[in-house]
Symmetry: C2
Amino acid sequence: MRWEDEAWRAKMRVRLDVNGVWDARIGGHGLPLARFEAEAGRWAEAHAGLEVRREAGGLAWTSLPDQTDTARELTEFGRYAASRFENVVVLGMGGAAAGATALHAALTHPYWNLLPPVSRVGPRLFVLDTGDPVAVSGLLDLVDPGRTLFQVVSKSGTTAETMAQFLVFRRALVNLLGERYREHIVVTTHPTEGVLRLLARQEGYLTFDMPAEVDERFGALSAAGLLPAAAGGVDLAELLAGARYADEVTRDADPWRNPALMAAALHWLAYQQGQTVAVLMPFVAALTGVADWFRHLWAASLGKRLDREGRVVHVGPTPVRALGATDLHSQAQLYLEGPADKLVHFLLVDEYGREAPIPELRTRVNLPDAAARAARDQVVADLGYLGGELMSHLLQAEARAAETALTEAGRPSLAHRLPQINAFTVGQLLYLLQMQTAYAAELFGVNAYDQPGVEAVKIATYALMNRPGYAARRAEIEGVEAGRRDEWTI
Amino acid sequence: MRWEDEAWRAKMRVRLDVNGVWDARIGGHGLPLARFEAEAGRWAEAHAGLEVRREAGGLAWTSLPDQTDTARELTEFGRYAASRFENVVVLGMGGAAAGATALHAALTHPYWNLLPPVSRVGPRLFVLDTGDPVAVSGLLDLVDPGRTLFQVVSKSGTTAETMAQFLVFRRALVNLLGERYREHIVVTTHPTEGVLRLLARQEGYLTFDMPAEVDERFGALSAAGLLPAAAGGVDLAELLAGARYADEVTRDADPWRNPALMAAALHWLAYQQGQTVAVLMPFVAALTGVADWFRHLWAASLGKRLDREGRVVHVGPTPVRALGATDLHSQAQLYLEGPADKLVHFLLVDEYGREAPIPELRTRVNLPDAAARAARDQVVADLGYLGGELMSHLLQAEARAAETALTEAGRPSLAHRLPQINAFTVGQLLYLLQMQTAYAAELFGVNAYDQPGVEAVKIATYALMNRPGYAARRAEIEGVEAGRRDEWTI
């Protein structure tokens, strides 16, 4: 295994570049280096706090990279799935789904589902993280359930859309296959509790557990994310090795030797000076899913009404997902010129792994007159700088341009730099961002693992769907809605 | 035409629901109704200002819906393209691309590109708004250029990624087809200026103009958005009729009778009280592209360093795209419990047009003992409320739950309510959001149509790509980069 080679690991290390943040370099709205140094005690405390929590078993997700047996089973199952099914459909919402999309998109072909089957090492993947009836029923227009594996992911087994989707597709399978329908369902849920576990036992579904102590949104490296990745031919052993490697480099108490602690500290410092929007901006299309996944992780883990002492704090940075260079043509206008309320966090890559050489323009028409020749010359002059270049160089030039423009505007940015996109670096990246979130929760003083706001919406939904036991809540909601006025809809 | 029927138009009107914003109803961080009323003069001024600008020809995009001849030509061309090509690939960035994605995704099948050709009324659509070499070269793995139409969209003709993509695919076409390659290229650019126009003349490409006075990002209803929509079978006449209808309802000086002015006023009021994040959250998967398009429009039009008088203001709300119910499982936590710095803007639909009925769960196994029966009973009790329901009702219940939760938390939200998703309502929606942006620019006192920040990044990119004439800028950038320190990359 190449990841067992120390030199290769070092070459593949994901680096955190903080050149763009310091007031000492960028001036203006840069983060104060002096305060960063003065707060050394705060960083040490966050580190110590997280270590204590980890010792006490409160960070069960940190042990997911060690589950190499599970990874082997899933790899084997992925091979089986690739040989038997045309499609894998993940039924899950939020944290249950975001990791699957992030991993698969990062490590497979950018148009995976559209490739002809001979060019794909595995089945098409659909992550159905929606309750939209058009999307759900539309899927049945192109997916034959008889050639499809459905992975149902819900730790609690109560997520309404997931269970509704499950009922829809289960019925389609039963109608088509009778008793053999169960061979098309695999369940990822709590090892012992919840209705989905009960159903799995009763109806005999294959299961790959979500460990009891792991919160769904920190579960990208559980079967929720690993099964679809395995079906896509991703090397799970290398992925988990990358995560373990990131675990090693994020144990140090010194932020200068712990990139997750450093990034968390910088985001916390930015927040203190009113930079409450955290932009995650990959310059790699394959990492768009990682940015979406992070947006989920960051918002749900840090956006809290109460701190750990029960004080009302209403805290939490707002994550925004942008994509370079696409969003340079829009969001950059705001990031550079609008309010100085943002910290931009780039994801950059040194080698894209595949090149698109830009040809020179050779015009093929005859040139009838001097005007046409002049026009041709202008065309060549205007486009000539692109000919003979590489698309990757253009994209990297744009990333440098964006970093420089932010720096000149005195607006802070930091960057994770990946040497390549492979399972080892993506494993590192996800783990680094998870650990950064955990440290940030220490700094903000909140519980990263609860989600009372989400639960409140779930309960209101149950009430409006007339689920037994929620009648009182329904009456309350109707009371709120009674305050609506017709003239306020125009 | 159904849209010529007054009753149908009235039934299909997109409504703005502002019940969720007022402090008088939601308390807490609601928008002050008294101040809204006291600021009547400000709204009138914004309205008058925009009318003056429009009279003077400064809102050329408002005439796009009147270009019914162009729409007819494009409809005809769309039919031709559908009969001749397997794929349409849009080469464009930012505003040139966002409208195409928004319109096509809103009005075609959710898995359009994956449908078998017999189930599609038009070619597959790829909007290549990226410079990522993996995505660009990956497209050639599945698209045969000989069966593909490339639409090159850049008003200036200088957008680096677009022109680079153009050079890549032009070469592929020339190699394959020789002189006939030009039949596979259609250009949307400035009617008279720029290198792309020159090239089109010189090499004989078919062109559909971007009108000279229309800014790209307000050009969704130009050929940039209409050509791909036409190829997807969208009814352009109905789409433009919807936009014209929205134009009628956004001319009134009274915000209570002008939903675009009202929405702009509310966003401005929210911004004044620190609610600087504008979340656009459709509860319709088909409108995800519209939310992305709006995010672009809003950021680039309002995020400005200078106001119209040249004063340094660094103003602009931060648009965030969220998707209901997907993001209820993550962002809702932050929106409900985090800082009260957001105004949530929902996009809701009354009829989804297609249903996914949720079947009841009938377990098919024999029940050997009391424990299994108890388990079965629990499963039925926990999932029973879903059986017999519709997926659309679940999604709508979630939207109501989210609205209520925000209201109870004293956090403002407003909603556009679409009776259905069709060309007429989507045409209205896009136009309403454009007009809202134009009014907001009046209120914030900025020029909606410039983008100096974006231009700065473009120039820096030229410099780094060694484009002739930018050497001095390159030296400056290298000077900035010289301030980097090795020890700041960890």
